[in-house]
Symmetry: C3
Subunit: 140 residues, 3 copies
Amino acid sequence: MIYREPLVIETRGRGTFEITREVQQVVERSGVNEGLCHVFIHHTSASLVVCENADPTVRRDLESYAARLAPDGDPSYVHDSEGPDDMSAHIRSVLTLTSLTIPVAGCRCDLGTWQGVFLWEHRTSPHRRRITVTVTGGHP
Amino acid sequence: MIYREPLVIETRGRGTFEITREVQQVVERSGVNEGLCHVFIHHTSASLVVCENADPTVRRDLESYAARLAPDGDPSYVHDSEGPDDMSAHIRSVLTLTSLTIPVAGCRCDLGTWQGVFLWEHRTSPHRRRITVTVTGGHP
Amino acid sequence: MIYREPLVIETRGRGTFEITREVQQVVERSGVNEGLCHVFIHHTSASLVVCENADPTVRRDLESYAARLAPDGDPSYVHDSEGPDDMSAHIRSVLTLTSLTIPVAGCRCDLGTWQGVFLWEHRTSPHRRRITVTVTGGHP
């Protein structure tokens, strides 16, 4: 059995936005008891990560790390048609994930205790981001 | 239902090679209407990425970024049996993807407007690269 | 058909631990002949990679590369509640993988000749790591 549902997330500009609950709600609506949950983001300047969700300083450090790893407005970039955060956003996306898959057990995403699923917006301005959640598996 | 097909891509040395059309053709031949399309590359010195496919300067910048992030011939590398691009190719592969999964809707890979699937050859010389595309899901 | 089995791996501190055989054994026990094998790690300070498994210097170089890419105890980190390897472990996890999927053909993971699946422990002390392997597909 295959169940698919779109999610639309309005970001407030660069940063990580937890979507664990939204993904979990799709799993519940799917009626799938045992299987897999696939999350896909339809963009190349925002991405997905599974990250520690307890202490917000982890994601603050991740953000400042990414800013050093792929600096905005690096003079070596040729592609800057949408501004200094254009190419850095593509690099940050390529180094993280466009899709991820999580086991489903007992009608729930079987994440670790400290794992959350996050949309990582890499552009500095707010964007409307489209995600597709696909749940496959069986009923009890 | 499960449909699997191999793809062989002859690269011309380091660079990104778009395989979106080849992957899409496998989805069409699979007859799967709704489901998931999994792409796997059977190598550790070439990888897969989903990237902006409109402006080629994005991939040119990605290439020069990767060359800075994991330089060829870094004196710290112990592993250089196949030349200065041997270890850098492994690092570039580990930082990108060996496998990716895309939703299938209406017999098509449901990619975003600007998303393309690329094989990223990390070795400087041409290679013959083996990919397996697996499509799972249902008929209408 | 869906088959799921947990794996518990006791790491000896930071480093790569090959789990290809353990994953392959789950595929055999699943009875799935053709399909996909999904591997998920339930942690945010250890991750998964597919890497060259023939020459151990590859993984030694990967380790020293990661130590330079995400240094322990970087003064810019705010999050250090579990020590200097706490935040670097989260960064290393985000830059690698929490989940990966491998084609199954003829009751085996269809990996390339030099591909191995590794758990990458990013913490310096030994940890007990929980993995879930899910095999989906069909019988002959």
